[in-house]
């Protein structure tokens, strides 16, 4: 997965849809994508459990995540 930090606004939609689809609850702590504040930008980190299902990219309203081909 590729994270374009310039487009990211920190809305956490990626983490919310990830935890919802994998754990049936909305919880950034359970998500396989984690956003960290880095100055004025957000940095995304993907945990080893991420299966690259691509939901985070499909739901991101800002186009800040892309699935690698």
């Amino acid at each position: 997965m590729i994270h374009v930090s310039e487009k990211c606004t920190g809305c956490l939609t990626c983490a919310l849809v990830c935890s919802l689809s994998h754990h049936e609850q909305c919880s950034p702590s359970l998500a396989y994508v984690r956003l960290h504040a880095d100055g004025s930008r957000w940095r995304a980190e993907f945990t080893p459990d991420c299966d690259e299902c691509g939901r985070c990219a499909r739901y991101c309203p800002y186009g800040a995540l892309e699935k690698e081909n």
Partner: protein
């Protein structure tokens, strides 16, 4: 309780330094949905009528509805109930950013604060556990620095802080969440300051259970697709609220302004000016149209947050500031002190009106510069915060203090309802629901509580009717609203606009036009069912929203602020310019309105409120 709700609230007794977590009654959520509605019900439980706003006995109740902390777009609202000092009203203030979501992820729907801490205190909540920590070192510190230092100490947490204006008890103070969302115009920060509470920091590591995860994803996907087809999507993503500049510009212009004036103000405060300062956009959790900003001020290299650049444009246009940077830095100063920029701007304008009409001179102003520009606002903000001088002390006590100093007969030189300044002048924008509701709102004029299709200027009656139906308004009510003699009865429509706000705020969805335009009553019903597992008919759901609003009115009626306080400001009927504006009072569709008409519309509003949805 099933999905969405945690079913728990935390009660913090600041006097004793104790906290407990308990289950709250399920019928509260069943009757009033959550957030705003349950806050009102809890306020009834925890407060006594007649309690002074700054007394330890005045509770502050935070609430996050069942959709907050979930994937539902824009579901990040947190509500805060308290009796506020500016008006004495019981207000349910609405804020955003990460506070509500972190409360939910921490396992709490509501937090109730009672008592008064013996010394400046920081309240830290993490996953339902609580710490009351000394905050003497932060007392006197601006909101920006307070937030930055607390975020560094508690990474990932949301920070609600008060500034020096709240500490000194200014009635125009408010709190800020994560340094870029306001909470509680009318003195919520003064209430928190009186409790010696500098900041509330919440960090949630848990989650919100969802009754039907697949259905939620499907419904949210549909909303995202609607967003993709939105013709202003690109402008909104790039520019936030200032992307709709042409819609706002005409309302920001002084009365009688020319096309040339419009071009000039657009150059100073419009989209291009914004882009020169924009560093990045900031979103509330789950929001698909970010509206907060981090701005870079080129002349100092300073980085500041903004609730929305539109607010900088508003004060910039109103006080004819030099440029966008001056407006943005002035707004940042007020935010940092924790002052409501709208009340302070109106107070500055009031001084200018008094000078223009020969009631005061530069000498009487104790050195406050009596000229349009940033200086008057900055100076007034500092004096109110420090309660310095006769004017600073009087204005820190709000409009009552200002009118005590200059005389009740000067009320005509501002625009007040329930001793709170109006945000919208219907002589400029026409009497839509937001303008009218300023008169009937239990807490006095606010920016949020009566949004409807009349927010957008110039819509034809047929379109207004269609958009109103989307708000869950039944056929019979539509017949009463869209009827002779005006074509649209704004009094009757306002009742349903308030109920729409009540629904959104009870569930936790942002009621900004840019967000709620994507929603309709059936979709809200379906999302509520998918998250919570509770199936409701639209009419049933809207009746609960109306009950929550009814309770809000009742809480204020017992404070002596019932329908007798629904009095329109005199300036509405006066064609003389006020703050550069004036003209005939007209409704949204352009019909001229008299004082009698307004009284009729207030009566119609109350008549409509007495009815069930349908």
């Amino acid at each position: 309780m099933r999905g969405g709700y945690t079913g728990r609230l935390m009660v913090v007794d600041l006097t004793r330094g104790e906290a407990s977590v308990e289950d709250y009654r399920e019928d509260f959520a069943a009757d009033y949905l959550g957030g705003f509605g349950v806050n009102n019900r809890l306020f009834l439980e925890y407060s006594s009528p007649g309690t002074d706003a700054l007394s330890p006995q005045n509770p502050v109740i935070f609430g996050a509805g069942p959709l907050v902390g979930t994937l539902v777009p824009g579901a990040s609202r947190v509500m805060a109930n308290a009796r506020l000092p500016l008006t004495g009203a019981v207000a349910s203030a609405s804020g955003s950013m990460g506070l509500g979501a972190n409360m939910k992820w921490s396992g709490l729907d509501h937090v109730v604060l009672v008592g008064r801490a013996p010394a400046p205190t920081l309240l830290y909540i993490e996953d339902g556990r609580v710490d009351l920590l000394p905050a003497a070192s932060l007392w006197g510190t601006g909101i920006l620095e307070t937030t930055r230092s607390l975020r560094a100490a508690y990474p990932g947490a949301s920070v609600m802080a008060i500034g020096p204006a709240g500490e000194s008890g200014a009635h125009s103070s408010l709190a800020m969440i994560d340094a870029c969302a306001t909470l509680g115009r009318g003195g919520l920060a003064a209430v928190l300051g009186s409790k010696n509470l500098k900041a509330l920091v919440v960090k949630g590591g848990g989650g919100v259970a969802i009754a039907d995860p697949g259905r939620v994803q499907e419904l949210v996907k549909g909303l995202h697709q609607r967003l993709e087809n939105f013709d202003m999507r690109e402008a909104a993503a790039e520019l936030g609220m200032i992307g709709a500049w042409p819609m706002y510009a005409s309302q920001l212009l002084p009365y009688g302004a020319s096309e040339e004036d419009l071009r000039e103000l657009t150059e100073r405060f419009g989209p291009r000016a914004y882009l020169e300062l924009k560093k990045c956009r900031i979103s509330c959790p789950s929001c698909f149209l970010a509206d907060k900003d981090e701005l870079l001020l080129p002349s100092t290299g300073e980085s500041v947050y903004s609730t929305s650049f539109l607010n900088a444009a508003i004060i910039g246009c109103a006080l004819l500031m030099r440029d966008a940077e001056e407006a943005a830095s002035t707004l940042a100063l007020l935010d940092d002190l924790g002052l409501d920029f709208m009340t302070l701007s109106w107070q500055a304008a009031f001084l200018l009106e008094l000078r223009e009409h020969g009631f005061i001179t530069e000498e009487d102003a104790e050195g406050i510069p009596l000229a349009r520009g940033a200086a008057i606002l900055r100076e007034l903000a500092l004096r109110v915060t420090e309660r310095r001088g006769e004017i600073g002390e009087a204005f820190a006590r709000g409009w009552r203090g200002a009118l005590e100093l200059f005389g009740e007969d000067k009320r005509r030189y501002t625009m007040l309802v329930r001793d709170q300044d109006c945000l919208y002048d219907p002589r400029v924008s026409g009497l839509g629901t937001m303008e009218f509701e300023q008169v009937v709102s239990p807490r006095g004029p606010t920016s949020a509580s009566a949004g409807s299709a009349t927010y957008v200027p110039g819509l034809p009656e047929e379109r207004l009717c269609r958009l109103t139906a989307r708000m869950g308004v039944g056929e019979q009510a539509l017949g009463r609203i869209f009827s002779p003699p005006w074509g649209m009865n704004v009094g009757r429509l306002t009742r349903y606009s308030e109920d729409w706000f009540s629904l959104f705020s009870s569930l936790g969805i942002c009621n900004r036009y840019q967000i709620n335009r994507f929603y309709h009553a059936e979709l809200v019903r379906d999302l509520y069912a998918a998250v919570t597992g509770v199936e409701l008919e639209v009419g049933e759901m809207m009746d609960k929203a109306a009950a929550a609003w009814g309770l809000y009115r009742e809480l204020n009626a017992r404070e002596g602020l019932g329908s007798e306080a629904d009095v329109p400001p005199e300036a509405w009927f006066d064609e003389q310019p006020l703050w550069g504006r004036g003209g005939h009072l007209r409704d949204y569709l352009g019909n001229e309105l008299t004082r009698e008409d307004i009284l009729t519309l207030i009566g119609d509003y109350h008549d409509e409120r007495g009815r069930k949805h349908g």
